[in-house]
Assembly symmetry: C2
Homo-oligomer: 632 residues x 2
């Protein structure tokens, strides 16, 4: 069966990618753009920058100190290969298949006879293999190679890519049997899944070794501290995610895999505890993770500045990886809630509508508009506000590509008794249940613009099965209509069990009217502000909907006036005070409004669409004008 | 005359360091500790780490790729020399004089015949001279050498240090006549003052060349962007400080020097404009500058997060350098206001009471206590919360040392008609005015603990002169008592003009009761908070005065209850709400208080003393419970 993650057991099981098909709507369109534009865009950039030729140069013995790209550029090729493998299976597109063969052939030539495969170390005048475990990313690269091979093996079967990945994985197991970890976790999640896909448990065991070896200060200390690469504390002892967000999350994804395969409940509970605290205290309303630019890392509890939010797109992808694994292990709807939030407000925010430019950082407040990116230019910086065609460090585009190409795999799961719908999009699903029962449905919906989700049964059942529908945590007042009867369903999971008949229709109605959302009072950076959400979408204000360059700094929302429909996804009533200019900004009295203040209807639009109309200032959190003492 | 800065003209003139003597109080004590502990501490660390031996190794031809220290470690030796020169003149201490001769002899041996002097480039296997202008700090080092030589020349006269500095300066002028600037400004301010001290205008001219050459993108672009080293915009065109804070401020100090020497009002006005906007929108209530750890830099307008405030100690020193030069040029009391604020709340916050440990970063909110620093350990990180004995990058200790050793130079100025007192401390001042008039006073005060400043005239005047007393901007309601008559004086400057008689006493009474201070509503990060100040001191709450580890996160101040005297510098009435634990922190309603909330009297202490009782959580900005709509 083909799916990015296939645990040997768990509360629910992934459906194979062939069992789910997106048939329309937002994600279907994103998949189409990914297929028609992003995949070729990524390959073209890597060709242009010499990241692909790095493999040829190793094979030809011509690589040298002038090798272009960072040490981790090989991983971008592998992430593209993973995306191509999912895409080739999704549509059978011959271009994707041809690209896989083309790239695989070049990679294969660069592999050393003992299985080592890397274009930055160990050849010509390059530093020796594994001479910089902290920063060299060699095992990180191999981890992405293994994830690509998993995709290929599950969608196509054994081929040259899978064979070379086996040799690379064997090389890692031989070399790192006794000691050593990589500064950037990823080999662990790659090995664990490769072990599952090949049926070779020793790969899972090597992943476990890497996991348990970490956290004992075996990597060299660095100015950012060992927490940066999670070598400060063993994962079983840590209480919260910290350090570089993508590293922390890739490591955690592997920890779930190992915990499940080893039936290691202690490890699974440690991860769930970390998820809980990190989501409660270190996660943005968008689902974004990473509060600091300095180390691309988590901040401390309650440190969630909207303007300096890093919220790397890759951390969004990695967060989905973690929550998906926890959802499979536990069936708990809270994981699907976070996946949905992160997909709409981080992963989908990154790519431009044409699929050829990407946000790297996803701040929640942009004070000055970003620059207009030249589509022919490599952005040297991971700044917010600018979707760039490519980056000097360009991890995000291929991460978006592989996630979108396999996105239909994250919509639903099954268990012995039925089907669980976690994400709502127009789609067709068919799953075989035990005892010859078939659970087949088609979903029709305009979600998230509208809240009505129609689930039509498409196969008669010989025996009862259970249809479980996630009711998002924000959806208080949701209703379920079945056979003409409507009942309210609480956030969590709504279940129906019977011998469904083809053409039965179950309708879930989710309240997607725009709503105000208040932050925990301990989140210092957004005290005295509200956000506006609509269904799973976080909304934002953009400077181009406001008069004058300073209005975004000064605006104040009247929550008492409610929210209206109008231009954008919602309209809020906002005051634009005139502030006296200049002078020392710390005052002996509270600032008073001048007579020049005026009221406007402030358009709010989905956060993920921001800056699509051009560079703009933006803010998610809106200062409130109404008195809001605690306790009221 | 001896003083760190001696412009050829200006609205007011510095007094020579021999004309002002601190006789007691806070700064006098800091000078004593600096003399008795910090100077030897710095020399011992630089000996231990080989930063001093780097000069010997160049002289002996034994330096190599294993040279310890960063490329800018030479500058620490020079900053220590500058501190020693001021200190030797202040007290005539033979240890300081001996240290100057000892260090000078070692430095002199390392100078190349053509005047080049640097331990990191140009010798043995080192990279060639000036092969890394962006990061090599060669001219930066030379700038600090020149500042040390200025101190020596003005306090002692020509000696080996001054002679070698001349050769180094001449080398710079020969080498950089046509092109090139240093990634870290400092050579400019060093050359300008060295030109003043030696009377050689060509050094001032070279400073002008460097200044005008900057801002045209001559340095290589870097991931942080050219704004990092102010090579993005010519200084005459820039509207605000940006990029690395210390770089921006050293550059600006030089710009004032050049503007004054060249009577270049356009340049002076550009600097004043930048000061105004930067102080109004990019400066912390402590006077601290630098909102970002990532680049040790200014943020954008209104980007002033208290928890991630960098507020490097050196930026505080550099800010004082800038404002002092502007004060001399213009006489405007606002510059003295900022100097006072910065001295008490940044510069004085850095050193421990024993003068052997230092804050590098000075955040306004510490969520988790820093570590206890080992006095025998080099701190690898510029983190907040820990005063460390020494740092891997250890610019701050020597910067504090040179500032404290010359601090009496920043208290007062004179002009043709009198004396201006800018900072209040127990001191003795004597200045010659034109027409044989002598302005001599003694100041007695317990400031800033108490607000009464007694200025006793100590010499009869043959003719009238003007005594000008700064009334700080926060001191509304201040009174001046002269000859039994008391009148209210407005913030700014209070002046008295007459033929003063010895033993006349003028008393300034400043209201130093603790007071609430509100931020401009556009400073997003502290919306809904107040600070508490007392005179020029910013106060803070520390976790060790609170029950339980989470109280600092949750506390809420009732401003309506006012402030009381008590333990610490003030007591505020604070509520400690109990927050429900865990869960998604973005709520469909405003958080309500639970029945477990309780009221306490919260001690507030001077910010500069924080963590002196041991590692602690801390916050300057305190959430408020009272309704505080704009416009009330």
């Amino acid at each position: 069966m083909s799916s990015p993650v296939l645990p040997s057991h768990g509360r629910v099981r992934p459906l194979g990618l062939a069992q789910v098909r997106l048939t329309g709507g937002f994600w279907h369109e994103r998949q189409a753009v990914n297929a028609s534009a992003t995949l070729a865009h990524c390959e073209a950039w890597m060709e242009r920058l010499g990241w692909l030729a790095n493999f040829d140069r190793v094979a030809d013995g011509t690589t040298g100190p002038d090798r272009p790209g960072w040490p981790f550029s090989d991983s971008e090729v592998y992430k593209l290969l993973e995306a191509l493998a999912w895409e080739a299976a999704r549509t059978g597109a011959p271009e994707a298949e041809a690209a896989i063969e083309r790239l695989t052939a070049r990679i294969a030539r660069a592999q050393d006879p003992d299985g080592y495969l890397n274009t930055c170390f160990g050849h010509g005048d390059q530093p020796p293999r594994y001479s910089d475990l902290e920063g060299g990313h060699e095992l990180y690269n191999t981890g992405h190679l293994l994830q690509a091979a998993v995709a290929r093996l599950r969608t196509h079967g054994e081929d040259d890519l899978v064979r070379l990945a086996r040799r690379a994985a064997d090389h890692v197991c031989r070399t790192f049997g006794l000691a050593g970890i990589c500064g950037h976790p990823e080999i662990e999640v790659g090995l664990a899944e490769f072990g599952r896909a090949t049926g070779e448990d020793r790969y899972v065991e090597q992943a476990r070794l890497f996991l348990d070896r970490r956290g004992h200060g075996t990597l060299r200390d660095i100015p950012l501290g060992r927490a940066y690469f999670q070598d400060d504390l063993p994962i079983r002892e840590a209480g919260v995610w910290r350090g570089h967000a993508v590293r922390a999350l890739y490591l955690t994804a592997a920890a779930v895999d190992v915990a499940v395969e080893r039936r290691d409940d202690e490890l699974l509970q440690a991860v769930e505890r970390q998820w809980e605290r990190s989501v409660a205290r270190r996660t943005y309303i968008t689902g974004g993770m990473g509060s600091r630019h300095q180390d691309e890392g988590f901040g401390e509890d309650w440190e969630l500045p909207p303007d300096r939010a890093y919220c790397e797109t890759c951390a969004g992808v990695a967060s989905v990886m973690v929550s998906w694994r926890l959802l499979l292990a536990t069936g708990d709807a809270r994981y699907a809630d976070l996946i949905e939030r992160t997909l709409y407000n981080v992963v989908a925010a990154s790519p431009s509508p044409d699929g050829r430019a990407f946000f790297y950082a996803n701040p929640l407040h942009q004070r000055t508009p970003g620059r207009s990116a030249d589509p022919d230019e490599v952005s040297p910086r991971a700044e917010g506000g600018t979707r760039a065609a490519w980056f000097d460090v360009s991890c995000c585009p291929t991460n978006v590509a592989r996630t979108l190409a396999s996105l239909h795999g994250y919509l639903a799961t099954s268990d012995d008794d039925g089907l669980q719908l976690h994400q709502y999009a127009p789609c067709s699903i068919s799953a075989e249940l035990p005892d010859g029962r078939r659970a087949a449905v088609e979903v029709e919906t305009g979600y998230p613009r509208t809240g009505t989700v129609r689930v039509r049964i498409t196969a008669d059942a010989a025996a009862p099965w259970t249809l479980a529908l996630r009711v998002p945590a924000w959806a208080a007042g949701a209703t379920l209509t079945d056979a003409g009867r409507t009942r309210e369903v609480a956030p969590g999971v709504a279940q129906l069990r019977r011998a469904f008949r083809a053409s039965d229709v179950i309708t879930l109605d989710l309240p997607v009217e725009p709503r105000f959302t208040w932050p925990d009072p301990r989140i210092d950076a957004v005290r005295g502000c509200v956000a506006v959400e609509r269904g799973p979408e976080v909304l934002c204000a953009e400077s181009r909907d406001l008069p004058g360059p300073d209005a975004l700094d000064a605006l104040v929302i009247d929550t008492g006036a409610g929210l209206k429909a109008g231009d954008g996804a919602a309209l809020a009533r906002a005051l634009l005070p005139a502030h006296p200019g200049g002078g020392w900004p710390y005052l002996t009295h509270q600032a008073a409004l001048t007579g020049d203040a005026r009221w406007i209807d402030l358009p709010l639009r989905p956060y993920r669409t921001w800056a699509q109309r051009g560079p703009a200032g933006m803010r998610v959190w809106l200062p409130v004008s109404t008195p809001h003492p605690e306790g009221e």
